[in-house]
């Protein structure tokens, strides 16, 4: 994740620096206002903590190891703006003195991990944690998910920065001057490692340390918790089930709006049918959507063979017995929604009956 020198063009690095500077300025102002002069030692020590946590190679399921950046944890404890500064400082020290990440790429590394990472972690943490009590398991899950999503978002940003290099910078002979891999390679290559290994390390550290703090010093979680339910330590009372009416209303509105889907021209990429390969207009659409790679002259044999295995009653959301396309779309939508609702009702009743049967059978 720490982008070294030479992987990004100077122009990309300059843009990343320019994008980071306003966030650093805002963060300095906000932190100064919020914490007064205590900020200096706190930010320094949190940066040092982030540096040390990055050195813990965490054993992960499957026999592999990964290290966390601590961005999720820092955000949950000291807030997104202070975390942004602390992790930026840790990244600058790593680049300057420990050869981890390039000097020209400091702006990009800080933007990806410290700035975007902290903001994403904060939004996800607040959304998932909601107004749950500080001691609730939901806060642990929220911290873990925040760390996981933040590190993956950072990785995605880095992958996009890598992926645009060969599109923009090549020498006269066509050799890419910086990172040679296009988006189609850079994104999966980065994301596979982060969705599995690095993301899990971040998840484990964020969730684990928040669980640890719940037992050792819960007041540390109050700063970023927002409004917390008052009955934190009280005996949980019976809570009236929430009304589902707004959900049903929203679902009904979305169903009515589904015919808008007809306005979109062409098929979604990769969702072509065998008949599309014979149609000149659709072939042109496929080529345009595939970076001018023409579709094969003949329909792929496997596609022909497998597509005849099952014929959907509502193929392409247009039942053959309905003339109006909009009505066909609406009917398909209602049928699909109805099936899902019935499926979940059945699952719910099955789960309830299994729960009731549980204690008796034990």
């Amino acid at each position: 994740m720490h982008i070294p020198d030479g992987y990004l063009s100077p122009a990309t690095c300059a843009v990343a620096y320019a994008a980071s500077v306003p966030f650093w300025r805002i963060a300095l102002k906000r932190v100064k206002r919020a914490m007064n002069s205590r900020q200096v030692p706190l930010l320094s020590l949190f940066a040092a903590l982030s540096f040390v946590i990055m050195m813990f190679n965490l054993p992960l399921p499957g026999g592999t190891t990964g290290h966390a950046t601590g961005i999720g944890l820092a955000t949950v404890v000291i807030g997104p703006w202070a975390a942004m500064l602390s992790v930026s400082v840790a990244l600058v020290v790593q680049a300057l003195f420990f050869g981890d990440g390039g000097v020209t790429a400091i702006g990009a590394n800080c933007f990806n991990m410290a700035i975007a990472g902290a903001l994403v972690a904060y939004v996800v943490y607040r959304l998932v944690a909601g107004r749950s009590a500080l001691s609730s398991a939901r806060r642990v899950v929220a911290a873990g998910v925040a760390g996981y999503v933040a590190i993956n978002f950072s990785a995605l940003l880095a992958a996009v920065e890598f992926g645009i290099q060969p599109m923009l910078y090549k020498d006269a002979g066509g050799a890419p001057l910086y990172c040679p891999y296009p988006l189609s390679i850079a994104i999966p290559a980065m994301m596979i490692g982060h969705l599995t290994i690095a993301g899990l390390a971040e998840l484990a550290v964020s969730a684990g340390v928040v669980a640890f703090l719940q037992r050792s010093d819960i007041s540390l979680l109050r700063g970023t918790a927002g409004k917390v339910r008052e009955q934190e330590e009280a005996v949980p009372q019976a809570v009236a089930p929430r009304s589902l009416r707004p959900l049903w209303t929203g679902l009904a509105i979305l169903c009515v709006l589904t015919p808008l889907g007809i306005l979109a021209a062409g098929s979604a990429w990769g969702e072509w049918m065998a008949s599309d390969y014979a149609d000149a207009a659709t072939r042109h659409q496929i080529a345009t959507a595939s970076m001018n790679h023409a579709a094969p002259e003949r329909v792929p044999e496997g596609l022909v063979r497998l597509s005849s295995v099952w014929t959907a009653p509502f193929a392409r959301y247009a039942p053959p017995y309905i003339r109006g396309a909009a009505f066909g779309y609406l009917l398909s939508c209602m049928f699909g929604v109805g099936l899902i609702v019935v499926g979940f009702l059945f699952l719910g009743s099955f789960t309830r009956s299994a729960t009731r049967a549980g204690p008796d059978s034990a």
Binding site: Y7, F97, G208, F212
Partner: protein
């Protein structure tokens, strides 16, 4: 961390201890190396920071491999006249950067479209782009190592003021550097004491719990230390304003070195476009 750990094998505690020891030894070596008698050590830190940063940017800008190689040779020359042994360069920079960037660059040999090289499944363009990646990473890492091993770290941070980095940021960076060493030592002691009490191999789940609990304890120590440091700062008269002593003074040799860095960068950029 992308630093190369040649002996990184064994359990979680051993590997973590080794990583912490590696970082500590690098910092301590840099401190002793910066106080040796050498050409770079005698220069004003501002000149070194500006010069080395200019060279790193030059390496990123030029599009000719021989020019990047020339800057690498120059960086090695700077290391040699500054009492940094080639062996240190090789073990602490070249090997790590080569392994890391080499692994990333390797598929580019096969995946980059272009003219096949002598009938092999690799292309001329692939070899060129992989060389760019590895050469740039090696050269920039060498330049930064020369800077970090010939200048006290606090001086490098103070010299960042020439880039208009806010004073408060420079102070935070300086304090971070100091506390990183302290935290590394604390973490090292924690893991060492744990290792001395461990008689059996720990399972991955136990290792995970240990890492998380250690992170939590370090977090507590961090906050505790932060309060203590703040009180100590207040006791010494800190009222929220930060100042740093700008005690650097340019000598004739510094102006000469600055001119040399600027000339090399300008000529390289002109030739390498």
């Amino acid at each position: 961390m992308s630093d190369f750990h040649p002996n990184a094998k064994g359990g979680f505690i051993e590997n973590t201890l080794e990583g912490l020891h590696f970082a500590l030894s690098r910092a301590l070596y840099a401190e002793s190396s910066a106080s040796r008698a050498g050409v770079m050590q005698r220069l004003d830190p501002r000149v070194k920071v500006a010069g080395v940063f200019a060279m790193v940017i030059t390496v990123a800008l030029v599009t000719k491999l021989w020019l990047i190689a020339a800057v690498l040779i120059l960086a090695v020359g700077m290391a040699v006249v500054s009492a940094i042994p080639i062996g240190v360069l090789a073990s602490r920079t070249w090997l790590g950067a080569f392994v890391f960037s080499g692994m990333i660059a390797l598929p580019a040999l096969f995946l980059t479209p272009g003219t096949p090289l002598y009938g092999l499944p690799i292309t001329v363009q692939g070899v060129r782009t992989a060389s760019f990646l590895v050469m740039r990473a090696e050269t920039a890492a060498t330049l930064m190592l020369v800077l970090a091993y010939t200048t006290p770290w606090t001086h490098i941070l103070k010299a960042l003021r020439i880039f208009r980095v806010p004073v408060v940021f420079v102070v935070i960076l300086g304090m971070t550097c100091r506390y990183i060493l302290l935290m590394l030592e604390t973490a090292h002691e924690m893991f060492e004491s744990r290792k001395s009490r461990t008689v059996n191999r720990m399972t991955p789940a136990e290792n995970r719990r240990l890492a998380i609990a250690s992170s939590g304890v370090l977090l507590h120590k961090t906050l505790h230390m932060s309060n203590e440091v703040y009180m100590a700062m207040q006791a010494r008269g800190f009222r929220g304003e930060v100042y740093i002593l700008d005690d650097f003074e340019m000598q004739a040799r510094d102006w000469f070195a600055l001119g040399a860095f600027a000339s090399v960068a300008a000529v390289s950029i002109l030739l390498g476009r």
